[in-house]
């Protein structure tokens, strides 16, 4: 609570009209300053809440409202209650996209975070040009997603791609990367991993540098090797950073959109492959809302993404909490 520490002005004594007429003035000023002291803190924090309300809360609620309607491009149609959700639960294309998203989430998050851990502990050693190396791992994040998508789509091309070229050297037949789920997921997860591993490594590195050196010294005295020190000292000490990156990558992974879209081909790329092999939930939402113009249905998909992320967030949280 806000406390007014200033001396209160003496309550005006209602003496006879002999007082000069400027008497009410300090009173007004006093009242203003009291209001100011009481409310200005709210004003200072208001920008965040206003922006959150406009760009976060309102769309959230409005999307829920739209999802309860048969809403097409010409505007609101009939109120249909939960019909969109009922249809969604019976929609094989939707569940397919959920499976795809989760599959790519696992393929990108797990190797990414493990790789970042290893990378961070390497960067935490005494190396030559360590600042250069630390900055270097950040480079991929500077690259535009679209550029990453285009370049990796060529690397994973069926006929002239580099990966197939290398596989050819060891006599493995060319792989049609877009034709199967496993292959397209691998290709897309590679893009995500390439882009984000360095970023996560830097977060881990920052956390690692806050670990007191004497812990390691004591462990060395006790005869623990480097690997043992890593698992028993480093990892437990950077747990908050790990929890943070796990949750952030989960959220990002659930919203995967650009990479698979660019990886797709032709004028119906939003379908994510001939059999929707790599169509993510966000792509499906986009297809429904902005290609078929079924805004109500698209909003229902958006809300399902929201619920799925919340669910995964809670699961993540419980797991990482219990493993203490």
């Amino acid at each position: 609570m806000v406390t007014d520490l200033r001396p209160r002005t003496a309550p005006s004594t209602p003496a006879a009209g002999s007082r000069p007429p400027e008497q009410p003035r300090p009173r007004l000023r006093d009242r203003i300053s009291r209001v100011e002291v009481k409310w200005s803190p709210y004003l200072f924090i208001a920008p965040f809440f206003v922006i959150f309300a406009v760009f976060g809360l309102f769309p959230l609620i409005y999307t829920a409202w739209v999802s309860l309607h048969d809403w097409d491009i010409t505007g609101a149609g009939a109120f249909v209650g939960l019909d969109n959700y009922v249809a969604l639960f019976a929609d094989p294309d939707f569940w397919n996209s959920v499976v795809n998203t989760l599959g790519m989430l696992v393929l990108s998050t797990v190797p990414q975070l493990l790789g970042a851990l290893v990378l961070a502990s390497l960067l935490n050693q005494k190396l030559r040009a360590v600042t250069f190396l630390r900055m270097g791992v950040l480079l991929p994040i500077v690259t535009s997603v679209a550029a990453v998508g285009i370049v990796f789509s060529q690397i994973f091309d069926r006929d002239a791609g580099m990966v197939n070229g290398l596989l050819g050297l060891v006599n493995i037949d060319a792989i049609d990367w877009r034709a199967d789920k496993w292959s397209s997921w691998t290709a897309i997860a590679t893009m995500v991993n390439w882009r984000w591993t360095g970023y996560n490594a830097l977060i881990y590195l920052a956390a690692m540098q806050a670990i007191p050196k004497d812990l390691y010294e004591a462990a060395t005295v006790d005869g623990a090797g480097k690997v043992r020190q890593f698992w028993s000292i480093t990892v437990p000490n950077i747990r908050p950073a790990i929890v943070f990156t796990v949750i952030m990558s989960t959220i990002a992974g659930m919203q995967l959109f650009t990479e698979p879209l660019i990886f797709g081909q032709g004028s119906f790329a939003i379908s994510g492959g001939s059999l929707r092999q790599f169509q993510t939930v966000s792509m499906y939402m986009f297809e429904k809302a902005f290609r078929d113009f079924d805004y109500g249905y698209g909003s229902a998909v958006a809300w399902m993404i929201f619920l799925l992320i919340t669910l995964l967030g809670v699961v993540n949280f419980l797991i990482t909490r219990r493993s203490r």
Partner: protein, 427 residues
Amino acid sequence: MGVRPRRALLATTLLSSLVAVSACGGGTADSASGDVTLVVKTFSQFGYDELYKEYEASHPGIKIKEENIGKLGDYTPKLQQWLATGKGAGDVVAIEEGILSQFMAKPDQFVNLLDHGAKELSGNFLPWKWQQASTSDGSKVVGLGTDVGAQGMCYRKDLFEAAGLPTDREAVGRLWPTWDAYLATGKQFKAKTPGAGFYDSTGGVYLNMLMQSGDHTYYDSTNELVIDSNSAVRATWDKSIEMVKAGLSANIEMWSPQWNAGFKNGTFATIPCPSWMLGTIEKQAGPENKGKWDVAKVPGNGAVRGGSFLAVPAQSTHQKEAAELAKFLTSAKGQTAAFKAKNNFPSSPQAIDDPVVQDFKNPYFNDAPVGKIFGESVKALKPVYLGPDNNAIGDRVGNALLAVEQGKLQPDEAWAKAVDDAKRLAK
């Protein structure tokens, strides 16, 4: 933590606002000097650059700005959005025939061109082309025809030579009076030249055959979905599957980067080429391959695939000027110029018979007399009725064919899936 997931929806909103922002880019703006700027929305290549200059020169005070989107698939949803929201459509929009019927269902979104003196122009268009963009009672004309997708078959001479096939375009045309003969030629080609595909992807060939197989495809003229009862669709599908099984396809999706590169690298030997595709081939194959591509007649009887209209959205603030521009661009003279620029084949009989068109030889394609080749294909033409979700259903059938090409589905499974997808979409 509870706060973070809102990003999913935040992303949604951002996306939609992005779309909205980009959609607003096309408004007309009068400059201080009182000039009128007309915004023309097109996709692919319309070949109007010279015509704009000419029109600006002869109409002082009019400025023309073309806003082009490369792929029709990307253009269509934008156009729908502009029209439905009443913002962003500019002054003249191009409408492709496959998406026309969904716009014909809402003619109020467009200016009735009969109010701008279009009536006397009806003789300037092939009768069916005029009909397509008129309401059924004839009281309203929504669009004026630009081009028709007159058909040819483009082929790589060097690959044909390597396969021991004739390379002269007359002789090549005689190889395939029918699609069965085309299939047979393909088998011959693959036996000699296994390294290259006979055609790019089955989707294109399928679409070509489909457009030759009757007066309607997925929808009947009452907009009833008939994909599984129209035997012509199934017959076309089966023929396409035969070609897939013969291994003729290079399995390269149309409009993909590999497809673009394929014209240059000779990854496939033939491609059914509607007139508007010649511009694409020339651009993608590049000057170093000049003379390697040639044009022969298409198998079967004449067909159209594609072709467009120009319409004036009712939201235009310069309807009169826009209608005049649309009339100019679709006039016989305008169509002839567009044909010369990008080989978009005219829909105006006067332009088709114009010696400039009839005698036009395309230097990039070995001086192929494309005016004559396409002209013959157009004469044999029967118009095909395309229903509201025609292109979206086409996308799904195309995906099903692709899955067969990739070996991921058996033909019957793929067909069942295509029909099922079409029904779910149209419901």
